[in-house]
């Protein structure tokens, strides 16, 4: 219905005007209203017809239900058929069916013969459901609409039975008893006629709507045109206004709303015209006022600026100066106008720096520079900018001078201070440094670095972490710890060694301090590194001296101890010696008696041993006592000599070979306990050495004892040899063993008194100390050569007697 409108409407213009929109709106409204009316009409009529049909069906079903009541009760086939046929007399009824209450079909009569049985089989299940509903809800009719028919159901209701004999008598005693559904009837009504009627109805509705539309649209067009004609005129007037012509007016034809609008439009145009004139006047006034105010403000600014400003013409004449400049030059601001600027500035008669202005006048370039004006005794930062006219030609210049004397002075002071600092930093031998917190950048390092570290400053700047490489490997961990600590912002102090490229080691005392911002955040570190190698060496020497002092003291105490001990031991030892002598003599006297006894009376025991063995052993035992006692006496004497220091008599010519032999024989039994390979390799034709043979014997005993005690088993060798170096003037006694050997730290300390690796096994730590002392007394040397696991070689070098 809508599409034809576009083609038949000749008034549609390409641009949708107000008129078109109104017309389209009206058309749409009419269309919607007519469509809505048609739909409502058709819908209502359809519902009405359908309801009529259903009502008819209900009535017919109820009628059949009532009529067949007795027939259903009696299930009388003839009566049932009669009742059903009665309903079939109605033209619209297609079939009539009666069911018993349990769903059994009692009779089915249809208009078209033969159709009944087919329906019966097809529809029984559906009917069973409807029966169940009707049983639940007795007395109510019920209908089912299908495509071509309507099925109406009604219950067949029987009155209640009588419960007591009395109730048979009275009709009004039954009210409360319930009716009972005994069957259901179904009447099928033909819908085809209804559908045909509805079809006709729809066509009628559409026709009516179409007939209504044509005149309605025509009227709508007429009305639209009438309404919009004055509007078009208004629009034309408005367009004239829009183009700026405020004098146009619209003719007023009627006194209705549109006429009033035209009136209003005309008066509005008049008002607009008037307003426009007023507005233009006010704007001019405002502009003038603004210009005045701007000028005033500009002048005030010009005079308030602390810079010296002058506007000059091409001939260096002053067009205008500000108050600051006038004051500095000592001229009147107004009077200065027209005079040249350069005489005022520097008393000359020609421009000086205005040579720049001349350049400016030639090429339009702005000048910018610092100038000292002697007349004003100040430094100025001068800017001379060109003034251009509208053609771009230079007509003059703006001279601006800022007094920077104060700043200049400050800069000078700062420069001097910096110079001073540089001198300090570069002169002193301490290294002054400054780094960032992570030491990724060296902010400053004084030149002393190159002297102390032996590396160039450039290498450090290039690789700031390279100073860590210079740190002695043993101190590097310490240094890294400190650098880590530096991140927490604590000051530190550190002593470490550095290795210079030439391999020499220097001690550095380094102190670092955090530099903080006002917020407390650490921005960098600064500090001083000092070469303290000399201090360190002096300190070490001092320590050695102190150690020697301690040693001396220790020896003095030992001497006192030993002399006391010697005295205490000497007395009992003398007694033992004397007793041994006595025993020897006694044994000589006793022996003949005992032998006689043996010969005459036979064998007997002495001290658990048979006499013949004792006769051999006892003199040896006694000799041993005497010998050991003699050794004790010697040791005591040695100790006394040690304590007395050099009190022993050295002026003997001793045979080194003899000394070695005596010592070996004295130790014979001990040697046999420790090794099977003890060898003496004595040099032939040995020259005599100078010294005390007893003391030297003691030394060799000590050395042999140490050698054999160092052997882990009896298969290891100990070789004691003697040799002489006549040219060197000394003899050498060498004790060479294949024992366990000594590590370096033990080797360095073996000569210390009371140092012993054998404290657990009865060592006193005095043997080698005394030996060393004795050899030193003899002006000889005691040398050790040892390696753990490979044995030890001890050399005793003694000066020859002939040299002494």
């Amino acid at each position: 219905m809508v599409t034809p409108m576009r083609t038949i409407n000749p008034f549609i213009r390409p641009r949708k005007s107000f008129r078109t929109r109104i017309f389209l709106f009206l058309t749409l409204l009419i269309l919607i209203i007519s469509t809505a009316f048609t739909i409502i009409y058709v819908h209502h009529e359809t519902a009405d017809h359908k309801e009529q049909l259903i009502t008819q069906g209900d009535i017919l079903a109820r009628l059949l239900a009532y009529n067949s009541r007795l027939a259903v009760f009696a299930e009388h086939a003839d009566m049932l058929r009669e009742a059903a046929d009665g309903i079939l007399q109605n033209d619209q009824v297609l079939s009539a069916t009666i069911f018993s209450v349990d769903g059994k079909m009692l009779v089915d009569r249809s208009r078209r013969a033969g159709e009944g049985s087919a329906r019966e089989t097809a529809e029984l299940p559906a009917v069973a459901g409807i029966l169940a509903r009707i049983r639940e809800n007795s007395r109510k009719t019920f209908h089912v609409e299908k495509a071509d028919c309507v099925e109406c159901f009604a219950p067949v209701i029987a009155g209640p039975g009588y419960t007591s004999p009395e109730s048979l008598y009275f009709s009004d005693a039954q009210a409360e008893q319930k009716d009972q559904t005994i069957g259901v009837v179904r009447v099928v009504l033909d819908k085809r006629e209804l559908n045909a009627r509805l079809h006709t109805l729809l066509l009628t509705g559409l026709l009516m709507a179409t007939l209504f539309l044509v005149p309605a649209l025509f009227i709508a067009y007429i009305v639209t045109r009438g309404v919009t004609r004055p509007l078009s005129r208004l629009m034309a007037g408005a367009r004239t206004l829009e183009q700026g012509d405020l004098s146009g007016r619209i003719p007023v034809e009627t006194e209705d709303e549109l006429g009033m609008v035209s009136h209003a439009f005309n008066s509005m145009a008049e008002t607009l015209e008037r307003r426009e004139a007023e507005k233009r006047e006010l704007e001019e006034k405002l502009l003038q006022a603004q210009q005045m105010k701007a000028k005033e403000e500009w002048e005030r600014t010009f005079d308030t600026v602390p810079d010296l400003i002058a506007i000059l013409d091409e001939e260096h004449r002053i067009v205008r100066v500000n108050k600051t400049m006038a004051d500095r030059l000592g001229v009147n601001k107004e009077a200065a106008i027209g005079t040249r600027l350069y005489p005022l500035l520097h008393d000359g008669d020609c421009p000086r720096e205005f040579a720049h202005l001349s350049t400016l006048l030639a090429n339009g370039a702005t000048y910018f520079g610092e100038i000292y004006e002697e007349k004003l005794q100040s430094f100025f930062l001068v800017t001379v900018s060109p003034l251009l006219n509208s053609d771009g030609n230079v007509t003059g210049s703006v001279y601006v001078a800022r007094d920077i004397t104060g700043r200049k002075q400050a800069e000078d002071l700062l420069q001097k201070a910096e110079e001073r600092f540089r001198l300090i930093a570069e002169t002193i031998v301490e290294v002054i440094w400054m780094t960032d917190v992570d030491v990724t950048q060296i902010l400053y390092i004084s030149p002393a670095y190159a002297q102390v570290w032996g590396r160039s400053l450039e290498s450090l700047h290039e690789n700031p972490r390279s100073f860590i490489d210079a740190v002695h490997p043993e101190d590097r961990k310490l240094m890294l710890n400190v650098l880590e600590k530096q991140k927490t912002g604590e000051p530190y102090e550190l002593e470490y060694r550095i290795v210079r490229p030439d391999g020499s080691i220097r001690w550095i005392w380094d102190r670092g301090y955090p530099v903080r911002e006002e917020t407390g955040e650490v921005t960098c570190y600064t500090g001083v590194a000092q070469d303290i190698t000399v201090h360190k060496l002096a300190e070490e020497e001092k320590r050695a001296i102190q150690a020697k002092l301690v040693q001396t003291n220790k020896m003095t105490s030992l001497g006192l101890l030993v002399s006391g001990l010697a005295h205490e031991v000497n007395n009992p030892n003398n007694n033992i010696k004397l007793t041994a002598h006595l025993l020897t003599k006694s044994w000589k006297d006793i022996l003949p008696v005992l032998e006689k006894q043996y010969r005459e009376e036979g064998d007997f025991t002495i001290g658990g041993l048979p006499f013949p063995r004792m006769r051999e052993a006892l003199p040896q035992h006694i000799a041993s006592v005497r010998e050991n006692s003699r050794r004790i006496e010697g040791i005591i004497r040695n100790l006394r000599d040690f304590a007395r220091k050099g009190a022993a008599n050295m002026d003997f010519a001793a045979d080194a070979n003899m000394i070695v032999s005596v010592a070996a024989s004295l130790l014979n039994s001990q040697i046999k306990q420790h090794t099977r390979h003890f060898k003496l390799d004595l040099g032939e034709d040995m020259p005599a050495v100078r010294g005390n043979p007893q003391q030297l014997e003691q030394v060799v005993i000590n050395l042999i004892m140490n050698a054999i005690q160092a052997l882990p088993d009896k298969d290891r060798k100990v070789v004691v040899s003697t040799s002489a170096d006549r040219e060197g003037g000394f003899a050498v006694i060498t004790v060479d063993d294949e024992g366990t050997g000594m590590p370096a730290e033990v080797r360095e300390r073996v000569c210390e008194p009371f140092f012993s690796t054998k404290l657990d096994h009865g060592g006193t730590g005095l043997g080698l100390a005394i030996s060393n002392f004795i050899i030193k007394e003899h002006k000889g040397m005691l040398e050790f050569e040892s390696e753990p696991g490979k044995g030890t070689t001890v050399r005793v070098k003694l000066p020859l007697a002939q040299n002494a």
């Binding site: 009388h76 007591s164 008598y169």
Partner: protein, 295 residues
Amino acid sequence: MKRLFLVITAIILLGSTAARAHDVLIIQGLRVKPYDEAVRGFRSTCDAATRRLYLPDMEGTDITRLIREEKPRLILAVGADALKKVRPVRNVPIVYLMVVNPQPIVKGNRNITGIAMNLPPEKFLDLVMRLSPRPKVVGIIYDPAKTGQLVKRAQQAARARGIEIMARDVGSPKEVPEALNGMKGVIDTLWMLPDTTVVTPETVELFLLASQENRVPVIAFAAKYVEMGAVAALDIDGVDQGKQAGEMAARILDGTAVTDLPGAEARSATVKVNRNVARKIGISLDNIDRFIPKP
């Protein structure tokens, strides 16, 4: 709420009892016109003070207790329901009224007596004989379990009058159409008995349809069937039955032992006729008119 209401009702009842004593307590089963008429008849012959209670109003009330409190000298039970309710009471004489077949309820309780609503079959047979001067076969459809006794009495009485009774027994209303069909052409009068199995709204219509089709008159036991299409009915006379019971009650109140007054049947009845039906069937009512008082 309901319990509270009952308590209040009981208090009111007891209170009124205390105020004045009644000789006769009437318990009426239904609020129907015939019962009201019967009570009216009772009051016309027994002038003792009475109090009437309706059974439908007393649902939930312990009637035996109420009677114990009320201490009436006699109870009148109107209707079978009322009689069933008061039957447990043994120490107060009970007179029943408007009960169709009282024997199964009374069961030999010696304090119960009354007037049965039934009319003796002889009276019906008399009516049959007046309708049709030469009756041969009277048809009866009955349920032996309900009206077997009555049918036996009727058969005896019929034999005495030279009438044959064709009785068909049925077990349910559905069998009634078949029984009716079987009698077609055989009987010349159909006698409807007050049998709840046989008489239902549908069967009544069948009876009357059969009556019209076969031109056989139907004799009924209540006036409402005459209105529906029976030719005549021997209707009960409620007022007279009330009077009958009133007389009985008066004698008991005067000291006669209940056992000396056995239960009786109604002594009178009213004949109702439908002249239109009679005309259509072609029956003369002349013999009857003589017995019916003109309205």
